[in-house]
């Protein structure tokens, strides 16, 4: 059992080393995301100029939501895991995994966790720079249950992000180029993941329907727990739906791997 875990620990450590090489890339990305935050502040600041509350939340609560989303992005988002998997399939690099006692999904997930720890740690730097300007708007509800439900929700969000990216990577078994699919999906994820606006600002019917899809559980759901947009019962119920989606996506990803391997031809030694 320990030996089985140990090999993924090594993959995790390799992932840490590999991603630390790109530390400046992540730091620059974090710095430029502050510009996006500036757009959000200007736009929503202007929208709130004539009204006290939008969707039942004031300006500070809304801006806190967007800052939380920004931080979550660096901790749970799949940045380019789909492309990496696609490259490994296209270049035949997955052949080595077919001959070794290692699960490709868990191997990639170990690297993903390492990558998110590095990018998450590095986003702290630009946030510290921005803190003097934004600390006045930050307002978080302090009920302890939000942490108890929110942290598992963040982990499950990362799982959903990773499995969706993994499934897109698997499409390389059928299609040579997956970039178009990925960017198309990014647009859907940006909207239904709550990155463009808090989903609860949509009409109640559309909001209720969207909460049945996996996308809101990629980022919106944990952000909504931490920023007070969801109550206790609602959060618990959605945590259940989120766990179901993780299960469904893991099954789909395993299915795609099994079906894809039947089409795969390993050439060379």
């Amino acid at each position: 059992m320990l030996a089985a875990v140990d090999k993924y620990r090594h993959a995790f450590l390799l992932g840490l080393q590999g991603n630390l090489v790109y530390r400046w890339n992540f730091a620059v990305r974090g710095f430029f995301s502050l510009f996006h935050l500036a757009v959000v502040f200007i736009l929503w600041g202007a929208a709130f100029a004539g009204t006290e509350a939008i969707g039942g939340f004031d300006l500070r609560q809304t801006l806190t939501y967007f800052i939380t989303i920004l931080v979550l992005q660096f901790f749970v988002s799949a940045f380019n895991e789909d492309y990496q998997i696609s490259e490994e399939i296209r270049n035949g690099l997955i052949n080595q995994f077919l001959l070794k006692p290692i699960n490709y999904f868990l191997y990639r997930f170990s690297i993903f966790v390492a990558a998110r720890l590095v990018s998450g740690a590095l986003v702290i730097l630009p946030l510290l720079v921005a803190l003097p300007f934004v600390h006045g708007v930050l307002t978080f509800p302090l009920e302890p249950w939000r942490l108890a439900i929110g942290l598992p929700a963040v982990f499950l969000s990362a799982m959903i992000q990773f499995t969706i990216a993994y499934c897109f990577g698997m499409l390389t078994f059928w299609f040579l180029e997956i970039q178009g699919f990925v960017i198309l999906s990014m647009a859907i994820e940006a909207v239904l993941g709550g990155q463009i606006f808090p989903l609860d600002l949509m009409s109640p019917d559309i909001f209720a329907t969207s909460m049945l899809l996996p996308y809101p559980y990629q980022m919106y759901f944990p952000a909504a727990i931490f920023t007070g947009r969801f109550g206790f019962e609602e959060s618990l119920w959605c945590l259940g739906i989120q766990a179901c989606w993780v299960g469904i996506l893991v099954v789909i990803s395993r299915g795609l791997w099994a079906r894809g391997l039947r089409r795969h031809t390993a050439v060379g030694g």
């Binding site: 890339n25 510009f35 600041g45 949509m202």
Partner: protein, 265 residues
């Protein structure tokens, strides 16, 4: 001039033939751009469900502003994006030699070689968004208003083109311009905001005057909404900005070119 037009037409022919060869790609990328445009409109729709005005702009004025910003961006993507984006890679790999041997101005040849029909197709959609907003606002622009609008969109395109060429020209010094495209897209986010939303000296100085991304879209939209009640600053401003930024882009590009050392031979 006619010589350059013929060269450009040859590039258009090449790009269209290439697109016809990869029809699936064309369809997917057209959809991708269409989706992102829809996302921007959706954001406006959601905000205006809860408020009547953003910095004094009503819903359809905002749609006109965002439509104008999208129109300029689609033109940039359609006419120049691929060529300028590839320029960075070509300088790094040494493939830029190819442009030095061509019969024409190097900056022209390097930045106009490829057209993206998917961007151009979506410029029709963006123009449709502008027309829809004009109709909803009950505006009835005359030929002069339309000419002024088109002129300002042209100025906006020149400014975007110049900023992009300037950014990618850094590759002559840095060797790699990876990630510059992300910076450009972040800046264009500002062009979808009304100028009146920028409060405070720093944000006005930085985004309205130093990097005129806000003026680029606000000026043409205002030209339609306010018609000839525009001040001279608003009418002449975009032209002066465009001329200044284009001049700077030409200067930096040619300074950079002196540093280019072929890597291919």
């Amino acid at each position: 001039m006619l010589h350059y037009f013929r060269i450009w037409l040859a590039s258009v022919r090449y790009s269209i033939v290439r697109t016809m060869m990869f029809r699936g790609d064309f369809l997917v990328w057209s959809l991708v751009e269409l989706f992102w445009m829809t996302v921007n409109l959706l954001l406006i729709n959601v905000i205006y469900r809860h408020t009547d005005s953003i910095a004094g702009w009503d819903k359809y004025e905002m749609i006109l502003l965002v439509g104008t910003s999208m129109l300029i961006q689609r033109f940039l993507m359609g006419f120049f994006w691929s060529s300028i984006f590839e320029m960075g890679r070509n300088v790094r790999t040494g493939a830029f030699d190819f442009f030095l041997a061509q019969p024409g101005n190097i900056m022209f040849m390097a930045t106009t070689r490829k057209l993206d029909p998917d961007g151009l197709i979506n410029s029709v959609v963006a123009a449709g968004v502008v027309l829809y907003a004009v109709n909803q606002l009950g505006l009835q622009p005359g030929p002069l208003d339309v000419l002024l609008y088109a002129f300002m969109v042209g100025c906006g395109l020149v400014i975007h083109y110049s900023i992009l060429v300037l950014s990618i020209s850094l590759v002559f010094w840095l060797t790699s311009a990876q990630g510059v495209e992300g910076t450009y897209f972040t800046l264009t986010e500002f062009s979808r905001l009304p100028r009146e939303a920028f409060k405070g000296f720093v944000s006005q100085a930085l985004f309205v005057w130093l990097l005129p991304v806000v003026v680029v879209s606000n000026a043409p939209a205002r030209a339609l909404i306010d018609r000839f009640e525009l001040s001279w600053a608003w009418t002449l401003g975009p032209f002066l900005f465009a001329a200044a930024w284009f001049g700077l882009a030409v200067f930096v590009f040619h300074r950079g070119l002196r540093r280019y050392t072929s890597a291919s031979s």
